[in-house]
Symmetry: C2
Subunit: 276 residues, 2 copies
């Protein structure tokens, strides 16, 4: 039996489109509608049947009992006011953004039944062309309830992610942003900086290690500009700690301190093997 009668997706890109496909495939919503600033994205989502109906006009969200905010973070923050005037207090609203503290804070002011979500299922590929119904299967999904979160809505949304195959992790929004700064946002900043810094004429010689280290530098600049600026403080902290550590490696090499370098690399390798 469907959990929702009318689900509305705001931002029919990779994650939004995949959610449409997944909700329909698993029969979790009787009807799925979608909206995007981009007409081409709406029509492509309709074509692959990620949504049953779509429009650039957000009025299409009227009557939804589930609204999914699936655009870049700043876009989500800018849309909430208008969307809150379209939906009833019964409507459950979720987001899928990569930073949570600002989003959850504002969403709880705008919506009676909001549940912050972050499926760790993004990619350096962007757009509806890469959408697939099993994107969330076997992927972690972080849910960030706060004290005021509607308990019934939280249960429904957890059930939804479980039915899509996700492994749920619960964190408060602040912990989410601190952890993700380290585990995702810093790596992205490093990848963007590495590809920027390398001399152009060397790019032809990229071995697998370099390709792995820069894969995520192919990610959408718009999405990452938003992520970096909405998680500024945590990200700056993690960059600083990382740079200090790299400078420590640099000092060992410069001073030809082989014992110190060896100790550092062995500890790093051990930690890597522990983390797998």
């Amino acid at each position: 039996m469907a959990i929702f009668s009318k689900a509305g997706i705001v931002g029919t890109g990779l994650v939004g489109g995949s959610l449409g496909l997944a909700l329909k495939k698993n029969k979790l919503a009787d009807q799925v509608v979608g909206t995007s600033r981009h007409a081409s994205s709406v029509s492509a989502a309709k074509k692959i049947r990620a949504i049953d109906a779509g429009s650039q006009n957000i009025n299409i969200l009227k009557g939804c009992d589930l609204v999914i905010l699936a655009g870049p973070v700043e876009t989500i923050l800018g849309q909430m006011g208008r969307i809150s005037r379209l939906v009833t207090d019964d409507c459950i609203v979720i987001d899928v953004a990569s930073t949570k503290e600002l989003v959850v804070k504002k969403a709880n002011k705008c919506f009676a039944r909001f549940v912050g979500c972050h499926p760790l299922a993004g990619s350096d590929k962007r757009g509806i062309a890469f959408a697939r119904p099993d994107l969330f299967n076997k992927a972690a999904c972080i849910i960030t309830p706060v004290r005021s979160t509607d308990k019934a809505a939280l249960t429904l949304i957890m059930n939804m992610w479980v039915k899509l195959g996700s492994d749920i992790i619960t964190l408060d929004p602040g912990a989410h942003d601190r952890i993700l700064a380290w585990m995702s946002h810093l790596p992205h900043a490093m990848a963007f900086a590495l590809i920027s810094a390398v001399p152009d004429r060397y790019l032809a010689y990229a071995p697998q290690s370099f390709r792995d280290m820069t894969r995520i530098a192919g990610s959408s600049p718009d999405i990452w500009e938003d992520v970096f600026t909405t998680n500024r403080r945590n990200l700056l902290d993690s960059i600083d700690v990382f740079v200090r550590q790299l400078i420590k490696v640099r000092s060992r090499i410069m001073q030809n301190d082989r014992r110190g370098l060896s100790r550092l690399l062995k500890a790093a390798q051990n930690k890597k093997h522990r983390s797998i």
Copy 2:
């Protein structure tokens, strides 16, 4: 027809063992012998038939017309003198080390017919257990001849790599080390520093991006200690340029300079897409 009658592998690990398997599979050597400081490595290499005979004693290299130096860089540098007293001037000697300037310089003093080689086929996996005959197939192999390199030996060695399926790139040893500092050694230093810097309690939350960025931190500390110290100057330079670029990203975020950040990320994404 075999190119070599007796090939000797010094260091029967991942690359040395794979070369033994590949030489035998492609019938490029009538006999393959191996030596290692580790008895277990020699016996494992014999067991998987990467070598026909093996010993911890390097005297087994007597009579070889090909010797392959396949240990870590500092080990290779330390062995050359002794090995040069075992082999004749006809014997072709190659290495497979990740840094070339020091190795080629010393090898040209020790051996009449030396050809520096660097197959880009390493891995974060180490040891004979991961050896396979097709390790070099469709992989790039950088060859670093200098003015004094024996032309006939160079031709034979190029033919050997081509028969193993490698795509050959020719560079002088200095250019090799400058390029590899950027494309391999810096990424490894970054990966070791990142895994060292991240708080332990966050390791459980690693998304794909973090795993990709730290995969090579699982690599052998011994091998990388040698690589870092034998390519010190180039590596320190590339670390410095990278850190300056990361600090530039940091400044844009701190100052909330969205236009500057956007420009930087877009240029990085473009460069990444150009480089694939």
